[in-house]
Amino acid sequence: MNRALRAQIRAAFSYPEPTRKRAFLRKLRPPGVGMIEMVLTQAAYIRGRVWVAAGAALIPALLGAFRLPGNAARLMGALLPFSAGIAVLETRRSRDYSMAELERATRFSLRSVVFARMLAIGAVDLGVILLSAAALSARSGLPVPRTTAEISAPFLAAAWAGLYIERTPLGRRHGHLSMAASALISALALGGEDVGLSLSALPSGAWMAASGALAVLTAREVCITLSRTEEWA
């Protein structure tokens, strides 16, 4: 169909200009975004090293389930705090790269962006922990809840400590203090037995209570971090 004819057809289909268009579109609110879509969108912005750190923690679990000699749970406990530490660093990324002002100008609040990122990382980390616990329990014969508590406690401790440090003035100035806390917790998880801290001898109930308490503390820190995200940006 040639251009002239198209123009004729367009002219033939001409209608009166809409009179209420501008006023209507000005008042129109943009379409909302669902939680899952928001999390998936933000997950794409999370740096690769976060996913690598989360995935790396799976390796000793899988090796431990099949052939790694010694206590694979201890090795897991030593690796997961770094995964938590790197995840905590994601909460300050907007500040570190001076993106906060830009992100605050978008139709999503900075708080919801940070929350979506934390949810994405948290979901993957939770998956890694549960998968690891299942693999390690199959090998060691210990109950899954006990193993889950044993490997999640260092992760939760590092997440809680990292988030706590991040909200102190010193922590906000020095981004890698939370990683130092992760390293300390990792060292304790790995070498605690050697310095007389016999954590593996603790009963299952103690592990689960400790994990539960740390989960509550971490959740509280997440809430505080989210509520003050805009203020710190």
Binding site: L5, A11, A12, F13, S14, Y15, P18, P31
Partner: protein, 153 residues
């Protein structure tokens, strides 16, 4: 999505509603209702999907037509007031040819050549394959060429 894009979507839905209802006031009501219903439908996660909006507009237009609120013809069949220049005469001929075409064919021409919708959008809107849309377009063009009597090229 920028305000220009939104305005374009508004215009496309408005033209479609005008075509179906032949009443600009009702068409504007339907256009705005289409936007509101689309936003409340839960399909508006990542932006505006035009095929869903056309489907909503089509249903709304059908509701309005059923209520018998069709006003006198405007737009496509309204050749009144055209100047007696060659271009205007061509325009009248085109309008007359379009007026004699089947409504479904006219709608397809409007969506494809005036609103600029893609074949993919049209196939999703009509629930048929892309080949079927190509065939229907070819048939509509042939009917138009026959009725208009011009050199389509």
């Amino acid at each position: 999505m920028g305000s220009t894009d939104l305005e374009q979507i508004y215009d496309r839905i408005y033209r479609y509603a005008c075509f179906r209802l032949r009443d600009s006031h009702l068409a504007e009501d339907v256009t705005q209702e289409t936007f509101l219903r689309y936003l409340n439908s839960g399909k508006a996660g990542g932006g505006y999907e035009i095929r869903y909006m056309y489907a909503i507009a089509r249903n709304l237009c059908a509701d309005v037509s059923r209520r018998g609120r069709r006003a006198p013809l405007q737009g496509v069949l309204n050749a009144a007031g055209a100047d007696a220049t060659e271009a205007a005469l061509d325009g009248i001929a085109v309008r007359a040819a379009l007026g004699e075409m089947a409504e479904a064919d006219r709608e397809l021409l409007l969506l494809r050549y005036v609103n600029g919708e893609s074949i993919g959008t049209l196939s999703a809107l009509y629930g048929c394959s892309r080949f079927a849309i190509y065939r229907r377009l070819k048939r509509a063009r042939a009917a138009f060429r026959r009725l208009w009597g011009g050199d389509e090229g």
